[in-house]
């Protein structure tokens, strides 16, 4: 269990992370969301001890995290970095040994991972000869080769094609099922929505949404309503309880305050014409993110 209590980080007068508290249980994937510069990377760096926190507490398995635990922790930094002139083998051996592994074990694991990612021929290739997506796979291997108990993935899927994204997602899910706690940040809401039970949305260093994905969606209250039909839906723009209105070629997409509004709308539709579709949807994480983070941009 990774626990952050009231963690604050200040750079001079600038507060990068403000009073952040989180709990991440084992075998759990935690989604960390936030706009650019929201403080995600700073939080990761504090968890890893690369930056000292200004105040607050970070514990893992009830103890502070130090370099003695580094063999249990895996890290995929946002800015990918490997030695361009070393071969994949040399690279992973060095990084693996720094995580406390033995050379033979590293080579065995490395073969398995290269096999799994369908790139066994890269073993003796220099990193600079690989494409960006393939470098990413190597980077990922370097983060997980030592079977960490806590894995921090900063934007793991950026710059990958859909096939590779699925491949990496599969690997991450397997690690989760083996008991690894995973924290990961992403700009791509659908990944977080698909993989995480708990999320936190940071807004300028302050957590604005935090909790289990289901509860968040539930308590968000607003729902999406999709209406398709052979009549004009313009009048719904000013209908009571409608938060937003988006015109579609054969209908409209609405955001409504609650289900009651949907019932009212449904009644008002009587006699208007043929309704092809009337569907209430749970809000997407994207909606929540835009609402919570976008609000402060206005």
């Amino acid at each position: 269990m990774l626990k952050l209590s009231n963690v604050t980080k200040q750079f001079g007068n600038h507060t990068a992370v403000n009073n952040l508290s989180l709990e991440i249980p084992e075998s759990e994937m935690f989604g960390f969301l936030g706009g650019n510069g929201a403080g995600k990377t700073t939080t990761f760096r504090m968890i890893l001890g690369l930056l000292d926190k200004t105040s607050g507490d970070i514990t893992w398995q009830d103890g502070p995290i130090s370099y003695n635990e580094s063999h249990l922790i895996g890290y995929l930094p946002e800015e990918r970095g490997l030695y361009p002139k070393l071969t994949v083998k040399e690279q992973i051996i060095y990084l693996g040994r720094l995580r406390g592994m033995k050379k033979q074990d590293i080579l065995k694991k490395l073969d398995e991972w290269l096999e799994r990612f369908k790139v066994p021929e890269y073993l003796d290739k220099k990193v600079q000869e690989l494409s960006k997506g393939n470098q990413q796979k190597i980077q990922f291997i370097s983060a997980v080769i030592h079977e960490p108990r806590l894995l921090i993935l900063d934007e793991p899927f950026s710059g990958l094609d859909p096939v590779n994204v699925e491949m990496l997602k599969g690997a991450v899910k397997d690690l989760k099922n083996q008991g690894t706690s995973i924290v990961f940040s992403s700009h791509q809401m659908e990944h977080v929505e698909e993989m995480c039970q708990h999320i936190c949305i940071l807004q300028k260093g302050t957590p604005v949404v935090h909790g289990s994905l289901r509860d968040i969606k539930h308590s968000f209250g607003k729902k999406n309503l999709d209406i398709r039909g052979d009549f004009s839906t313009e009048y719904l723009k000013d209908f009571q309880g409608v938060a937003s209105y988006k015109e579609l070629p054969d209908g409209c997409a609405l955001q409504i305050e609650d289900e009651q509004v949907a019932q009212n709308i449904f009644s008002s539709l009587q006699g208007k014409g043929f309704v092809r579709k009337f569907e209430i949807e749970e809000p997407s994480l994207n909606d929540i993110f835009i609402e919570k983070v976008g609000a402060s941009y206005e």
């Binding site: 690369l50 926190k53 200004t54 060095y94």
Partner: protein
Amino acid sequence: MNKFWTIVGHTYFSRVKAKSFIITTAITLAIIIGFANISSIIDMFSSDEDSSESVLVIDESEGYGGYLEEGGLSEGTGIAFEKFEGTEEEAKEAVVSEEYDGLLVITTDENNLPEGEYYANRISETGEQTAVEETLQQLKVVVGTQQAGIDQETLETIYAPVSFQAEQLDDSARTAEEMNQSRGLVYAMLFVLYMTVVIYGQMIATDVATEKSSRVMELLISSAPPITHMFAKIIGIGLLGLTQIVILFGGGYFAIQANEDSMAGGFFDIMGLSNNDPAIYIYAIIFFILGYLLYATLAAMLGSLVSRIEDVNQLVMPMTMLIMIAFFIAIFGLGMPEATLITVTSYIPFFTPMIMFLRIGMLNIPIWEIGLSIGLLVLTIAAIGALAARVYKGGVLMYGKSGSLKDLKRAINLSKKE
């Protein structure tokens, strides 16, 4: 500790195996061996040539030419003088057709002393012209003194070198002989330390900047503490330097030993590398290690501040200037080790490794002075090490526009709690 040695090993082996390192070392070693064998090499190229020159002599004086013939003054000059009976024109033709190397025409001046005119195809060629002139000069002395009625023995007595011996009265000072002996060692140490700091200091800074710019740094310092990383890097590159120095010096030493008869004894004597007090070697090692540590730590700190390799040179410049100043002061001090400037600068930690060692080599320094300077140096290394560790921790996470010492403050702020 395990991680420390992993980083040391990686730093060391990835460079030792690098082609650039092997090639540089091999070329330098070849040059050193070449210099050690320079006399054999010159002999090899000139062996097919006739080493003795033959010069025709037309004697228009009263038989002075006779002195030059075999067994006379020409002995040991490497020139065979041959009397020519024909005309000057015929002799010149013989020289032009390269049968002979030159033509010397001896005449007498108003004092009845010998004069010469020398003809050769190329006047600038080799030293034979000088040798001929010297021989003629000797001839003039012989003839002149004979005319003045001085016999050969008296002449030799006059020309014998004067007897001159310098002895010091202060027992604490080094004798002139001792000073000459250690001068070579001091010079060698100054030079090696200077080269080491410039080359390997640069290498450390570049290495740190490379890891930063390729962004692998964040991964490294999440596995091992930045301080461990920094010192492991310093030690790894230090071992690399040591390897290179041992190869070059070892190679040079054996090459010179192999040429013992031609030059070795003389070479080691001149360089003052034989018969030194063993203590001075120990001091050499101590000051070398401390000097390397001081400058290497500085280099690592400066390297951690840049985010692009192109900026490394700009930032290590102050460090290079410091070691250059130290080197120039030390070179000046070789001539006058007792100057106040030398005494004062030998306590400034950045200069101590060179200048205090110079004083130890050239003078008799009380042990407390040495101890004091080493103490100051060690304290400075500790202070710079602590500062560098702070800067390094923040600096390696700092990206963006860089390339000035102002970033020092930014880096320290970044590594602070608030």
